[in-house]
């Protein structure tokens, strides 16, 4: 395993040290327990918005801490949920008296750790609400499973809820928005190569020189099927059709679209993917009202991409355009 690291067990901490040095105007890092928090937290009277999860998906979540997005992020070990003490401390650090929203990706570990933290916080009189993001159409949604994974929609939910909280919305309203965004969002991912978790030291799965994995999760969890490589056009068409059929999206819908790189795919290819996506949507009468193209929810150096679409209404688009100032997403500021 060749990586730009010193010690596999200290990657997350040492990376956070660099993040803290690089963005002192935006955020602070607590190391015991570990969390990243807005430099100006807590903001009295403002709802706090928090997320967290395993590390290795950067810029999500730590790179989305800042004005108009997250008040704090709790990074776990690579691909491992954070622990309740981190989440509790972060929640306390951002509570400005108006309550705190936990945005949780739907993984058993994340949910249980956030639940334990919420119990601890509520015992201290902090109002905590939680919304679980589960947008991954590659996974069957069933009462008999842990349900769909939370993937790309998390970024959009964090951004929109962050903007709403910044506007001074009450906790219930921010929570409702988060549920609305999640309900209107669908994602699907694919991988061309695996990635290597530093502590594991070897690739987390194997793909043949001509194989791809459709419907992959952001931790390299196997997806819908393993197939032979196909041209980007066919891959994008498959992903898009699966997504569109699921909600379903309809003629006249406006969407926020994200073409997300898994980490090891050049930006050149991500734009090529976007160039395939938008015409497909237009042909079905769907307008891309806003978009992100780049690396937002990565899986270390995995090559591949995901597509996320959120049906957006006027309010969401207006929130989207509000200023945001984080290491990973920035405009209007």
């Amino acid at each position: 395993m060749k990586k730009l690291i010193n010690d596999p067990d200290r990657v997350v901490l040492e990376s956070l040290a660099g993040l803290a040095l690089a963005h002192p105007e935006i955020l602070r890092v607590s190391f015991d327990p570990v969390y990243v928090v807005r430099a100006d937290a807590p903001r009295p009277g403002k709802v706090g918005v928090i997320s967290g999860g395993g590390s290795g998906h950067e810029p999500m979540h730590v790179g989305f801490v800042g004005r108009g997005m997250l008040d704090a992020a709790c990074p776990g070990q690579v691909f491992t949920s954070p622990t309740p003490d981190q989440i509790e401390a972060a929640t306390r650090a951002v509570d400005g008296g108006a309550g705190v929203l936990h945005i949780i990706k739907n993984y058993t570990g994340d949910i249980m750790n956030f639940e334990m933290a919420a119990e601890l916080c509520r015992a201290q009189g902090i109002t905590v609400r939680a919304v679980v993001i589960n947008d991954d159409v590659a996974v069957e949604d069933s009462l008999y499973t842990a349900g769909r994974r939370g993937v790309g929609a998390t970024v959009l939910a964090e951004r929109l809820c962050g903007a709403a909280a910044e506007r001074g919305w009450a906790l219930e309203r921010v929570e409702a928005l988060c549920r609305r965004v999640n309900a209107a969002a669908r994602s699907m991912g694919m991988a061309l190569t695996p990635c290597t978790v530093p502590a594991a030291g070897r690739p987390n799965f194997q793909l043949g020189p001509d194989e791809i994995e459709m419907g992959i999760g952001i931790h390299g969890e196997p997806g819908r099927e393993r197939t032979r490589w196909r041209p980007a056009r066919e891959i994008v068409a498959r992903m898009t059709e699966t997504i569109l059929a699921d909600l379903p999206f309809e003629r006249g819908d406006r969407v926020i679209a994200m073409v997300n790189g898994m980490g090891g795919t050049p930006l050149m290819e991500l734009y090529l993917v976007y160039g395939e996506l938008q015409p497909l949507l237009e042909a079905r009468g769907i307008t891309v009202a806003r978009r992100l193209v780049g690396n937002y929810v990565t899986s270390l150096e995995m090559a591949g991409c995901s597509i996320t679409l959120v049906k957006a209404d006027d309010e969401m688009l207006s929130l989207w355009d509000d200023p945001v100032l984080t290491p990973g997403l920035r405009w209007g500021a």
Partner: protein
């Protein structure tokens, strides 16, 4: 034979060695149907536990188990952190006020721990989780206790039932946790959490003979 505080501490320290030795096995099992970190997570958690015990060892059984719970909750993360954390939290409560654990107390410890995991994870038997090793283990211990078994026999029965339960997870389709995303593709693999749960009971059986 009743267990004292030092016996409990010895079990916890032995677990640290056992999970270190089985780090790769557990991680490999998790690689097949999860995210390849179960062994790493437990190794990190129990290393931290021993470091904590070295620094600051509680004087009673309940304290030991509570420290274990808090340390695992803080250092394991993932699904296993809250699950085993809750196990030890409930186990600690079950031991409240006890200086020594007689056979019924030990069974009660495991019962309470299992109950905690079930409440935290909401998994029923047959869903391919650690419950599939722990639930039969607790039943077997209760049965052996009812039959008047000695502590060593009780734990032996528990370990054997845990092992069988662990193996029974192989043909199961996962319905909880990360492996459930795989649906039918999860069949044919042994559940990592059931495996670490078996090690938990087996180590107790070996320590507390």
């Amino acid at each position: 034979m009743a267990l004292g505080r030092d016996d409990v501490a010895a079990w916890l320290r032995a677990l640290r060695v056992v999970y270190a030795e089985n780090k790769t096995l557990l991680t490999d099992l998790d690689a097949a149907i999860g995210d390849a970190d179960h062994g790493i997570n437990l190794d990190r958690g129990f290393s931290a536990l021993v470091a904590e015990l070295d620094k600051n060892a509680p004087a009673d059984i309940r304290g030991l188990l509570q420290t274990t719970a808090m340390t695992l909750i803080r250092h394991v993360g993932g699904a296993a952190g809250p699950l085993y954390g809750t196990f030890f939290l409930r186990a600690a409560s079950a031991c409240a006020g006890k200086q020594r654990l007689e056979a019924p107390d030990v069974v009660a410890l495991f019962e309470a721990g299992l109950q905690g995991i079930v409440e935290r994870g909401k998994a029923a038997p047959g869903e391919k989780t650690m419950v599939d090793a722990l639930a039969p283990a607790v039943e077997a211990m209760q049965r052996s206790l009812g039959d008047g078994g000695r502590l060593g026999d009780i734990l032996q029965a528990g370990a054997q039932a845990a092992e069988e339960g662990m193996k029974a997870t192989i043909p199961m389709e996962a319905r909880k946790g990360r492996a459930s995303y795989l649906g039918p593709r999860s069949v044919g693999h042994q559940d990592p959490g059931a495996t670490s749960a078996w090690l938990l009971v087996k180590t107790a059986a070996e320590r507390w003979r």
